[in-house]
C-alpha cells in the first residue's frame, strides 16, 4: 500500500512530503537529458550541478518556468523519476496533492494533474501555493482573523490574505528569484561587458544582493567571459550596483504586495498591523527584502521559521487530513 504524497512542484526546487513520514525529498527541479537519444542522464541536484557546464550532447533544463510547465513531456519524466525515488511503482499508486501557483490557467492545471497521474499517482489534486504556505507557516488560518502570506518562489510571487480556511484576497505576479538572477546577468553583460552563467548570477545574489542598503556592504569579485575578446575576465561588483540591477524586479514584487493589501476587506486590514505579514519561499531570503516591504507598506513583516519548506509542509498537512480538507482543492466548489 503506497503512502500518499504532497509535492511542492516549484520552479527552483521540488519537495516531496510522505504521509506519516515527513519531507522525504528536496531537490532542484532540473533534469539532464541526452540531446541525441532523449535519455534521462540525471535529475535533481546532480542535474543542477550540470547547468551551463555540459558538453554539446547533454542539456540540463528546468521544465518549469514562472510556475508553469514549459515542457509537458520532460516534466512528466521528472515527476516519474522523483516518485520512483520515494518508492512509487506501478503497483503502489498513492494519492497525490500538488502545490501550484494560484494564477495558473485551466490548461496548466490539467497538464500538472495529467503529468502526476501518468507518472504513477492514483489520484492527483491541486492546492494553491499561498494557502499551503499559510498552513505550513503555522498561521492561525482557522480563526476569523486576517493572515497575510507572501510567497516568493523561483518564478512566481504570490501574496494572499487568508481567513477561516479560505483565500480572501490574492495577488500574483510571474516574477521571482530567477528574474533577479536574470537581471544580474543582464546588468553585468551591459555595464561590464562580460557574460556570466545562471549559477554565477545566483551566487552574486546570495553573496551581495539586497533589496535595501544593509550594514554589510562588501564587494564581490566576479569572473566571466569578456564579450569583446572572448577571454576570461574578473570584475568587482558592489551591493549598490546589484540593488540597481534588480530594482525593477523588487519593485514589482513590492507593488503586488501593496495591491493585495488594497484588496483586503477593512475588517481584516487592521489585523495586519498587529499580526504582521509572513514571508516564505526562497526568494524571500533576499537580504533586506522584509525591511523593504515593511518600509513601503508600513506593516510589520516576519520571516517564517521554515521559509523553504512551508509550502510542502502545508500540503503535507492536507494529505494527513485528506478527507476533512479535500474541500480546499483547486476546482472544488465551496
Amino acid at each position: 500500500m503506497a503512502r500518499d504524497l504532497a509535492i511542492d512542484l516549484g520552479t527552483a526546487n521540488t519537495l516531496v512530503y510522505m504521509k506519516g513520514r515527513g519531507i522525504v525529498l528536496n531537490e532542484p527541479s532540473v533534469i539532464a537529458l541526452n540531446r541525441q537519444t532523449g535519455e534521462v542522464l540525471a535529475t535533481g541536484r546532480e542535474a543542477w550541478q550540470m547547468i551551463g557546464r555540459t558538453p554539446g550532447y547533454i542539456v540540463a533544463v528546468r521544465p518549469l518556468r514562472g510556475g508553469a510547465i514549459t515542457d509537458f513531456e520532460i516534466t512528466e519524466r521528472m515527476i516519474r523519476l522523483l516518485l520512483q525515488r520515494v518508492g512509487v511503482s506501478r503497483f503502489t499508486r498513492p494519492k497525490v496533492v500538488i502545490c501550484v501557483p494560484s494564477a495558473i490557467t485551466e490548461v496548466e492545471r490539467r497538464a500538472v494533474t495529467d503529468a502526476a497521474r501518468r507518472a504513477g499517482a492514483a489520484d492527483a489534486n491541486l492546492i494553491e501555493q499561498p494557502m499551503a504556505a499559510a498552513i505550513g507557516a503555522d498561521l492561525p488560518i482557522d480563526e476569523p482573523v486576517g493572515n497575510m502570506v507572501i510567497d516568493i518562489g523561483g518564478g512566481t510571487s504570490e501574496t494572499a490574505v487568508i481567513s477561516l480556511g479560505g483565500i480572501v484576497a490574492l495577488e500574483a505576479v510571474r516574477v521571482g528569484s530567477f528574474d533577479i538572477d536574470a537581471a544580474i546577468q543582464n546588468y553585468v553583460r551591459r555595464e561590464h561587458g562580460i557574460a556570466i552563467g545562471e549559477r554565477t548570477a545566483e551566487e552574486i545574489k546570495v553573496a551581495i544582493g539586497s533589496a535595501d542598503p544593509t550594514g554589510d556592504e562588501n564587494q564581490a569579485e566576479v569572473r566571466g567571459r569578456d564579450l569583446m575578446t572572448g577571454l576570461p575576465k574578473t570584475v568587482l561588483l558592489t551591493p549598490e550596483e546589484i540593488r540597481f540591477a534588480i530594482e525593477d524586479v523588487v519593485s514589482s514584487i513590492v507593488a503586488s504586495v501593496i495591491r493585495c493589501l488594497a484588496k483586503a476587506p477593512p475588517e481584516l486590514s487592521q489585523d495586519f498591523l498587529v499580526r504582521g505579514m509572513y514571508l516564505v519561499g526562497g526568494g524571500g531570503l533576499l537580504r533586506a527584502l522584509s525591511d523593504r516591504i515593511q518600509r513601503e507598506t508600513k506593516v510589520p513583516v516576519k520571516m517564517s521559521n521554515v521559509p523553504l519548506e512551508a509550502v510542502v509542509l502545508g500540503a503535507g498537512h492536507v494529505i494527513e487530513h485528506y478527507e476533512a480538507l479535500k474541500g480546499m482543492f483547486m476546482g472544488v466548489r465551496r
Binding site: W48, I135, I141, G153, G154, G165, G282, E323, G327
Partner: protein
C-alpha cells in the same frame, strides 16, 4: 396489469420522495464539512506536522546547505 403499474408508479414516487427528503436533510452536512475543515486546520491538528519539521531540524545533515534558492 393495472395494479402492477400502480404499484410501480407508487414505488417510483416513494423513491423520489425519499431522495428529496434525504437531499433536504443533507444540507447540514455542509456545516459539518466546514466544521471538520476548520478543526483540521487548528494548531492542535497541525502539531504532528510541525513536530516532524523539528525532527528534521535536529537530524544531522538533513538540511541541504548548498541547494539553490527560490521556491
Amino acid at each position: 396489469m393495472t395494479l402492477t403499474i400502480v404499484i410501480a408508479a407508487a414505488a417510483v414516487a416513494m423513491v423520489v420522495l425519499v431522495a428529496l427528503i434525504a437531499r433536504r436533510h443533507r444540507t447540514p452536512d455542509t456545516v459539518d464539512a466546514f466544521r471538520r475543515q476548520i478543526d483540521a486546520l487548528s494548531p492542535e491538528a497541525r502539531r504532528p506536522v510541525v513536530d516532524r519539521v523539528q525532527e528534521l531540524d535536529t537530524r544531522p545533515g538533513s538540511r541541504n546547505d548548498d541547494a539553490p534558492g527560490g521556491g
